[in-house]
């Protein structure tokens, strides 16, 4: 099973000149794609390039308007997801949906458990089959454990096992790593390699370019619904790939401007929330971008939440612009000039069912007011101003934010907070899950804000982002600040050493 695609057998699944339109929009135009057994194939493209539509076409959710789906070289029509599944195609989504109260084994064999006499479920056989699947994947998970409480990484493994139980030959993984930690990604890649060696064809989607180079052999690039290229990754550089995705040379991904740090804008003193983080002290100065690094679970987000007032702290104090903040009161933090772009834009950053205009307006409920009532004109122009400044791509400002792509949603969150003219801006994972073009825009924006005298605290699990953007790097490990590293000395090694508690800070 080590055929190379150019000499090997027919592709197990292929799309030939597929087009798909929604109304007047052409989501896919003459797109072709070939998936070979024993190969991991990357699908690259910015948000809105047509990746989702393509996946849904492969999975039988959408039927193409033109072009062919070829299964083992034979033209096929999928009438629905069940057809695609029966043909051996499985999709692993970013956030799996398991039944929380059922065991792992029951989730895998839901609705088709092995039976004993009188139609009773054969738990022993279910258990054994699950153990066999886990062995095939090289993963240790207890089949009898309920799905509730499993990490997203483990849930994905369960989904993959389920796919295998259907004898899936084609595995489509839609941004599987977006919510995983480093070690979880490594384990997932181990599973993917095992599957590849067993002859599966894998289609892998990720915004993290380094992952594509790590795990994939070939890449197909889409831009604005059109096919750009399909080629081996051997010999390509990240810059090559980015150029194909965005259609131009990207300006620098980390456009950091040198800024002279000013006076202290935010001062955190001995902040403690019991059992979560302990004795955290740091300053952020005007014009500075301070990176806050650490492993997931180190307490970075929790510090940000407490500083902003969404959670209470047990001891310590926070000053913004010389004013002490009230414990547990976001409204006073806002009034003092603090803004927080939270980690989870869909649950925390935005009211998904509300319009772009109203979402941005939510931070202006105290300011865009005339005679005690909402000043709708002022609200609209404030929202429009910021949506335009941040180049949010939308049809109408009154459309709900759930109609926007992830990158544009993140821009709306930023717009919402920049509209408050903050003195201190905390951004938590500001570019998670957004495409590389938007990512560069967000970085340019943060850099410009710092240059304009805003103090920026940037929490990120993306090390290149921390190293590329931060003037200073704070590192947390198990609820404590373990290091403060100036830009000149910050390297992946020094930050990771502190983040894993290996360094004497």
């Amino acid at each position: 099973m080590t055929h190379r695609s150019d000499t090997g057998p027919a592709p197990v699944l292929a799309l030939k000149d597929i087009s798909k339109s929604f109304g007047a929009v052409r989501a896919l135009r003459d797109v072709s794609l070939e998936l070979f057994p024993g190969e991991v194939h990357a699908l690259a493209g910015e948000n809105g390039a047509g990746k989702s539509t393509l996946i849904k076409t492969l999975a039988g959710v959408h039927r193409p308007d033109a072009g062919q789906v070829l299964l083992d070289g034979e033209p096929t029509v999928f009438h629905g997801p069940a057809d695609a599944r029966d043909a051996g195609i499985a999709v692993i989504y970013q956030e799996p949906t398991l039944f929380p109260d059922l065991s792992i084994a029951e989730n895998i064999f839901m609705g088709r458990q092995p039976r004993r006499a009188l139609g009773r479920i054969d738990h022993k056989a279910t258990h054994a089959a699950t153990v066999a699947l886990m062995q095939r994947l090289g993963v240790e998970l207890d089949p009898d454990r309920p799905a509730r409480g499993l990490s997203i990484a483990d849930q994905q493994i369960v989904e993959i096992a389920k796919a295998l139980s259907f004898d899936a030959r084609v595995l489509i993984m839609d941004e599987p790593t977006a919510a995983l930690t480093g070690s979880e990604v490594a384990r997932l890649f181990g599973v993917v390699r095992t599957l590849r060696e067993q002859g599966a064809a894998v289609l892998f989607i990720s915004h993290r370019l380094e992952e594509i180079f790590q795990i994939c052999q070939r890449v197909t690039t889409l831009r604005d619904g059109a096919w750009i290229s399909s080629e081996p990754l051997d010999g390509m550089t990240e810059d090559d790939l980015v150029r194909r995705m965005v259609g131009r040379d990207l300006d620098e991904l980390y456009p950091k401007q040198e800024v002279q740090a000013g006076e202290v804008a935010m001062s955190v003193r001995r902040l403690t929330r019991e059992g979560v983080f302990t004795d955290v002290s740091f300053d952020v100065r005007r014009g500075e971008i301070v990176g806050l690094a650490g492993l997931v679970g180190a307490g970075r987000t929790e510090v940000a939440r407490a500083v902003f007032g969404v959670d209470r702290w047990d001891a310590g104090e926070v000053e913004v612009d010389g004013k002490a903040l009230t414990n547990g009161a976001p409204s006073t933090a806002m009034a003092a000039g603090l803004a927080l772009v939270p980690e989870d834009r869909r649950a925390q950053g935005l009211v998904m069912d509300m319009s772009i205009e109203r979402n941005i307006g939510l931070t202006g409920l105290r300011t865009t007011v005339k005679a005690g009532l909402m000043d709708r004109g002022a609200e609209r122009s404030r929202s429009l101003d910021w949506a335009v400044k941040l180049q949010v791509k939308y049809a109408r400002i009154a459309d709900t934010v759930n109609t926007l792509s992830g990158g544009n949603q993140q821009k709306v969150v930023l717009a919402k907070w920049l509209a408050t003219a903050p003195k201190v801006l905390i951004v938590d994972e500001p570019t998670r899950g957004i495409d590389v073009g938007t990512k560069a825009e967000v970085h340019r924006l943060l850099s410009q804000l710092a240059a304009d005298g805003v103090a920026v605290l940037m929490i990120s699990s993306d090390l290149p982002e921390i190293l590329g953007m931060a003037d200073r790097v704070l590192v947390m490990h198990e609820g404590r600040l373990t290091a403060e590293i100036p830009r000149s000395e910050a390297t992946e090694e020094s930050v990771m050493a502190a983040a894993t508690g290996r360094a004497a800070a």
Partner: protein, 331 residues
């Protein structure tokens, strides 16, 4: 708000408004005894208790909460009113005391929900029983009927020979206030955000607990006002006044397109729902539909009202999705 005329037309609250007009026109045409001024004034007067409580209930449901104890609070307020009247207190003292008591009842609900983090559905089922029980303890099975005539006349009477009850006028003032608060004030805006996503509202600096506490308190106050009105309108203060009224209020509010999950709806829709329910009840009584069958109709309406807006929203979401898709690929 800035949807196309077509999109506006399929919004559930406008559908209910249109339905109300159709029902009224049909009733004028085909139901004997419906169109005369006296019957219409009865219709409005009997619907006013539902309408009064529907005002704060709409705001509460928009914010994602509910208060099932409103009818019991109304009953308690009526019972206290009767008991104090029997003690010889003046009505001018009694009414403010009753309103204060209602506010306290609401505040208790609010504190249980916001401080202890309990679900309002459970809390207010509990206080539904508790407040009604207290009402019975206070007044027993007495009925107090001898309130001052000018008050009884105001609560039950109408302006000359018109169809307009006196009590409609203060209600219209309260309605106007509620519309402004929900649809034009920052407070109302924050309620929509809280109802749609409490967490996102908190992250936007909205004082979620405080807003909810205020709402529950005002709801209790309005329920007590309704209890006072009820006792005067029907010239009878009993502990079991307004029993079951919460169902009618919630049915009407949901019928008016207020999303049970919070975050969606308009007061106009809710009030249209209230009067649609009131008109149907009036018509059913005129054509001698039994009280039991009327309850069945209310129940069916409740189910329809939860279902209808959802179907409507599916349509509008699909439409917005197409619009957005139309704009994104051309970057």
């Amino acid at each position: 708000m800035a949807d196309s005329p077509l999109a506006r037309a399929v919004r559930w609250d406008t559908v209910v408004g249109a339905l109300l007009i159709v029902v009224l026109l049909l009733s004028f045409g085909f139901v004997d005894g419906f169109g005369n001024a006296l019957n219409l004034s009865f219709l409005i007067g009997n619907t006013l208790p539902i309408a009064l409580i529907a005002l704060p209930m709409t705001l509460l449901v928009v914010s994602g909460e509910i208060d099932l104890s409103v009818a019991s609070t109304a009953g308690l307020s009526g019972a206290v009113m009767g008991a104090l009247w029997n003690q010889g207190m003046t009505i001018e003292t009694i009414i403010p005391l009753c309103l204060l008591l209602g506010a306290v009842c609401g505040l208790i609900n609010g504190l249980l929900v916001t401080r202890l983090g309990l679900p309002s559905l459970a809390v207010t089922i509990g206080t539904l029983a508790a407040y009604r029980g207290i009402a019975q303890i206070i007044l027993g099975s007495d009925a107090v009927t001898d309130f001052p005539t000018q008050y009884l006349d105001f609560a039950a009477g109408r302006i000359g020979d018109t169809f307009i009850p006196y009590a409609l006028l203060p209600f219209l003032v309260l309605l106007a206030i509620a519309v402004v608060v929900l649809h034009a004030a920052p407070f109302g805006r924050s309620l929509f955000a809280i109802g749609a996503s409490e967490e996102a509202a908190r992250f936007a600096g909205i004082r979620v607990k405080r807003q909810k506490l205020i709402l529950f308190t005002v709801t209790g106050l309005m329920a007590a006002l309704t209890g006072v009105f009820w006792a005067l309108h029907y010239a009878s203060a009993r502990y079991d006044n307004a029993t079951g009224l919460e169902l009618a209020v919630i049915a009407a509010v949901l019928l008016g397109g207020i999303d049970f999950d919070g975050g969606k709806g308009t007061l106009g829709g809710a009030i249209a729902g209230v009067f649609l329910l009131g008109a149907l009840q009036n018509v059913m009584s005129l054509v001698n539909v039994s009280a039991q069958s009327q309850i069945v109709v209310t129940g069916v309406l409740l189910v329809v009202s939860v279902l209808g807006p959802r179907v409507g929203r599916q349509i509008s979401v699909a439409r917005a999705g197409r619009r957005a898709a139309a704009s994104t690929p051309t970057s």
